[in-house]
Amino acid sequence: MMEMVISIANLSYIYHDGTPALKGVSLDISRGESVGVIGPNGAGKTTLLLHLNGILMSKNGIVKILGIEARKENIKGIRRDVGLVFQDPDDQLFMPTVFDDVAFGPINMGCAEEEVRERVAQALEWVGMEGCEQRLPQHLSVGEKRRIAIATILSMSPQILVIDEPTANLDPRAKWELTVLLRGMSMTKIVASHDLEMIAALCKRTIILDDGKIVADDATRNIMSNTPLLERHGLAPASGIIEPQYQGPSPNR
């Protein structure tokens, strides 16, 4: 039997204003898996990811990381094991320079100066941004910011990489470059997105989350070929939408 790195049992979460975001989610992910989490806007994808390294902690349900239940006491270790890349790189990159940002995690982990510098150099090399240490985040392109955002997590050498919408706002070239980059990383990966092309290229297994519940959990191949399922959860166009139609007001005055 494979080692379970993430095991979630019956997790529910309700926001301050009373809106339920997760309703009894159960999920097991084994080491080395690459899992796509897809679902419409507001399905609870981000809320689920925030539970994976203890940003959110729910009293309803159990989240186990590497066999250990996430609690306040052991949160430090869990945050080292689970690296979370946020959706907006301007949220992820909060330090004045690229170097400071990538070094932030290792310094907090208590690494010695020499090791911090090594980790930063290595992480930047992995994402193809070596030599950018002294650049300022406000001078980077969106694609570059994404790469640096991933480097800030890689420098902490997490066992599990969790990424929220890695390809949002990227042009096709940057998107595919990033997909290839992520595919080359061997750790366990959880990727939330509604970019089905990228998920299909990156993940063998896909979960559909809708209205706070897991409604499908299968091989990506099966999910992507099940058009009625995708359509039902707002992830594929209803039949007939794609063909161009000219029914509205005429563009010619």
Partner: protein
Amino acid sequence: MKHHPEIDKYAGLSSPIHNWDPRAKLIAILSLIIGIVLIPDLEIALIGLAIALTLVLISRIPFSFILKHMLWVIMFIAPLFVIVSLTPSGGIEHASLIAVKALSAVILIFPMIGTMRFDTTIKALERLKIPSKLVQMIMFTYRYIFVFTSEVQRMFTSLTSRGFRKRTNIYTLSTTGKLIGMLFVRSLDRSERVFNAMVSRGYEGNLKTLVDFEMHTADVLKAAILIAIAVALNVVCLTVV
């Protein structure tokens, strides 16, 4: 990419002030500013102004750049000058003294923080044991001011594209007010997300960075000269009076 006005535009130049250790530079020029502000005599204050201008000259920051930024300061100092020179307890000489000291102090800001990248300034403050909360506030202001200015620009573009024009009327005021309110709401949301990102990478209230500052004899010497000047300017005043 939009151009942002940056105080550290000329940080890439090379001069004796640029290659001065940031910590020594901050302390020395700050001492000089305090020294000049304390001068009670107009002629000595003019010497202070001359020293400030000399430092700018050494730093090789173009005077046009400084002048452009000084316009705002002059707009502030000029009315003060007029008012003080008209008051009975003031007079032209007293007004000039205030104006000269204010100008010198502001001019000295440029060799002080215009000769290094702002992130270096922040790290120097951190190393000088300025309270961490204050340093973090400066750091986040610097990091996110550009994010927020682009946000405001986008919001204004969206207003303009729907026919909004700035006029002097209540409608413009209320629209601008709503826009500022919206910006606060967005900033609050962002700060929450940034905080999550920090916490998930092990933030526990303190920021630590790595720096490669090195204090050499030359750095200390330069600082000693400026501090000596600051003291001398005031001692001279005492002996003259």
